[in-house]
Amino acid sequence: MSTDTALLRRDAALDASAWGEPFHLVQPRNLCFWVYIVMVGYGVYSMLPIVSRSAHFSPAAVAAALVVNGILGLLWWLWFHHIDRWERQPAKILLAAFVWGAVPATFAIAINANGALMSLWAKWFGQDWAGHWQAALTAPFVEESAKFAGFLLLMGLAPRLVRTVNDGLILGAFIGLGFQVLEDVTYAFNGALENFGTAPVDGAIGTAWLRVATGFVSHPLYTALCCAGLVYLIGTASQERRIGRGLGFLAAGVLTHGLWDSMVAFAGSGAVTLLVMFGSAIFGLGVLWTAFKLARPVEHAYARDILAPEVEAGLLDDVEVEAVLDRKARKAYVHAGSDHHARRARKHLIHAGYELVHELVEARGAEDERVVRARAEVARFRSET
């Protein structure tokens, strides 16, 4: 391959992936912008009375709920940002996703619809039946559609940035995270009122920790699956339409949510509850792993093309590029180091390879000081391998 061909490959990959491009929320000529703004406004309007009532009752409980859930949210945020390995979605779009999940999805849509639908189940099928099944037959449909509505808006606002299954997984996770954090905060507010509000701070913290302990399979996972399904279902410039696969992932997100919520129906039987709990967790995580696995080749192909001129110039070879991209290849490459020092240098080289991809993306393929520095780091570690 000639240098020119390699550069063309990089340019084509940068153009097709739109990695490194900025996100602009404010687009007055875009309907999605106005829908987003109106719904956030309505969500804030619905949320303020709830927060102010709780703050008036027990400021300490509200503070405790916000601190516990804020810390948890921050940790999840950092983790999701970490697994967004290649593209590194702009912070603005991640924030827009988080805010949608936290405010409109929770306070404009879910709070209204959950209550109404649960009430309908009770009216149609009786209190006892509804008590067992209303959670499983309400939240998965209301909340997942409320959350993926935000993803649809982001697709309309940034069609170049939101086009791969990986985008669906990452942005879905951030939307779900916003929903999870604010839902947990409202649960903690309610916890403060338990037992006639005699111990509001303990109630708020206890509820918050209970939600944390049982929340390892929760909204980020459900919504990541649903949004990945939407990308397949709709089809984009980077992902051909796959209706069956799209419906499958959408159904998996809703089903995992439904299974988790159906634990209420089995509250009388500890063994069945545990089975449902772990069964839904294993199922959901398994489907998520599959979704990432299916999304990986597209991301890897873009990254390979972005690194092609570096391979052409002799900075990296194909084996090293694969080690940067693929977990198995990475293990084999590191393991092949002749001694501890070489193996450590190989690990550093892989990390430097990531950074080089990110700097090339940020510079949109141009030569700037940070790209030069990233290349120098790669060369330095490579000389020690």
């Binding site: 687009q27 000529r29 875009n30 309907l31 999605c32 912008f33 106005w34 829908v35 719904m39 009532r53 008036h56 009752f57 404009a108 849509i109 209204n112 619809a113 209550g115 109404a116 639908l117 009430s119 309908l120 009770a122 009216k123 149609w124 009786g126 209190q127 006892d128 008590g131 067992h132 209301v142 559609s145 409320a146 509505a149 649809l152 808006l153 697709m155 309309g156 606002l157 069609p159 009122l193 338990e194 037992n195 006639f196 509000g197 005699t198 509250a267 009388g268």
Partner: protein, 190 residues
């Protein structure tokens, strides 16, 4: 307007209309059809039950067969002739008087600015099982009624009766009988 954004924006508008407008309207248009029948009991907790008046509309709560252990339990909401009665419970180790003070404190704080105030006079009530509770009238910008508090073996029970004063007077005997029917199946007393 950017035409490419229309399908996404309109799809979300449709979802919002479904969940925020259509479903709540359908709910409001659908009446409860779940009247209390003779001999039915409801479970407030696994061991605290009460017997509602026949003919009241059940809008929340779980039935339990007399003498059987409750599969599900929780707050109970009933309504009849414009009056609503809501029973809820929680851990409480103090006296019924202290529980009523705590309920007043919460309600006053949570309804800040809505004109909630309670009457100065508190009256005792005694259930059929001999448990003694306390009741007190209240009024707010939105409703009036009374709150009753009982404590049965470490569990507090709150009863709120809300509605127009003349209607509360009209169903007074039924409400009294319901409050007096509250008891613990495991023998716990106040």
């Amino acid at each position: 307007m950017d035409r490419r954004s229309l399908p996404f924006g309109l799809a979300v508008v449709a979802l919002v209309l479904l969940w925020v407008v259509a479903v709540p309207r359908l709910d409001r248009a659908t009446a409860y059809d779940d009247e209390v029948r003779a001999g039915e009991q409801f479970a407030l907790t696994e061991s605290i039950v009460f017997t509602p008046a026949v003919g009241w509309e059940v809008t929340g709560g779980y039935r339990v067969d007399p003498g059987a252990s409750a599969q599900q339990s929780g707050p109970v909401r009933l309504s009849s002739r414009g009056v609503a009665i809501v029973l809820s419970s929680g851990d409480f180790s103090g006296t019924p008087d202290a529980l009523l003070s705590q309920i007043d404190k919460i309600t006053t704080r949570l309804t800040d600015g809505e004109g909630f105030h309670v009457s100065q006079r508190r009256v005792s009530l005694t259930t059929k099982m001999g448990d003694v509770g306390i009741a007190q009238g209240f009024a707010s910008a939105r409703a009036s009624g009374f709150i009753a508090a009982l404590v049965l073996g470490g569990t507090g029970v709150e009863v709120q009766v809300v509605g127009p004063p003349d209607q509360i007077a009209a169903v007074g005997d039924e409400v009294s009988a319901m409050v007096e029917s509250i008891h613990a199946t495991d023998g716990a007393t106040s």
